[in-house]
Amino acid sequence: MAKQKLKQHHINRDWCKGCGICVHFCPKKVLELDEEDKAVAARPEDCIACKLCELRCPDLAIEIETERSE
């Protein structure tokens, strides 16, 4: 399978409830909760597009858009 490269984090602020699961389990510490307790990508350059945040979000609030690179 071609390796996935991050294009963009899409975080739905209306759906995110600030549970912190994505922040806690991100292997690269890319995500943080902001002052409104919503997830934000604080260090997108470190993201490896593993999508673990997307799979574990209980609110279906986070989506990782990727571009394919060979």
Binding site: D14, W15, K17, G18, C19, G20, I21, H24, F25, L52, L55, R56, C57, P58, D59, L60, A61
Partner: protein, 268 residues
């Protein structure tokens, strides 16, 4: 199809508490369905009552939100009249195994083709944190403030001995495994049971001082191990996850059709 196309987005954000594992089940169940490439019209979801059972309201399939403990009975009627549907029955541990325990064992025994998802948070979430038959000895609950003295069921052992032909267990921590297992369970032509260990941070977590949702997921990682692992030999307290049973036996709707043919022999 993107998984968002399977949602009834008008009901979002959903009603579950922050960090509730039921949302992770919804998330990965939809990923399983997405990989199967089924159309929404081929799927029917039947649920009872409970926080877990609310899942049927959020998906854009055929859905029936029925009564507490009786989802499998409704699902059986539906499947027998429309066997072409893929029937998925999400249930809470209370829904499936206290009030619904009898329906559960008999559905396993009949081997009717459908997928039972037991969303096991080991407590009654919806009604305020009463202990369930899955809470387990020594746990705390609203109705067991001095610790629960009831021993818990093992959902997997129970489903196997009752005759289910596909039996598996996973957790919300193991999201990828969850999607893979649910996919296999849906394809299986017989009664499939998937126990999904999930977190209710609001009641089970808070009562038992297990920390927040992430801490509870770490805990589920720590107390489980893949089926047949060496770790289990060394530490028998570990809970195994993976597929335990996957076997072929005559399926109920197909057998029932044969009964109809036998009874109608020579007549139209």
């Amino acid at each position: 199809m993107a998984i968002r196309d399977f949602l009834r987005e008008r009901f979002f954000p959903h009603m579950w508490c922050p960090g509730c594992g039921h949302g992770i089940v919804l998330n990965n169940m939809l990923r399983a369905i997405q990989t199967l490439g089924m159309s929404k019209n081929e799927i029917a979801m039947v649920s009872g009552i409970g926080c877990s059972s609310r899942i049927s309201g959020y998906v854009d399939f055929h859905t029936l939100h029925t009564i507490h403990g009786r989802a499998l009975a409704f699902a059986t009627g539906l499947k027998m009249s429309m066997p072409e549907l893929n029937v998925i029955v999400p249930m809470g541990d209370g829904d499936a195994l206290s009030i619904g325990g009898n329906h559960f064992i008999h559905a396993c025994r009949r081997n009717i083709a459908m997928t039972a998802l037991v969303m096991n948070n080991r407590i009654y979430g919806m009604t305020g944190g009463q202990f369930s038959p899955l809470s387990g000895y020594g746990t705390l609950a609203t109705t067991a403030p001095y610790t629960n003295i009831d021993h818990g069921f093992d959902v997997v052992d129970l489903a196997i001995s009752a005759g289910a032909t596909f039996v598996a267990r996973t957790t919300t921590y193991h999201a990828k495994q969850m999607a893979d297992i649910i996919r296999e369970a849906i394809i299986h032509d017989g009664f499939s049971v998937v126990e999904i260990m999930t977190q209710c941070p609001t009641y089970f977590g808070r009562k038992n001082k297990l920390g927040d949702a992430s801490n509870m997921m770490e805990w589920m990682k720590d107390i489980t191990t893949p089926v047949g692992s060496k770790a289990k030999e060394e530490n028998p307290d570990l809970i195994e996850r993976g597929i335990f049973v996957q076997k072929e036996l005559p399926e109920y709707c197909s057998e029932y059709n044969k009964v109809i043919e036998r009874a109608m022999k020579g007549r139209s």
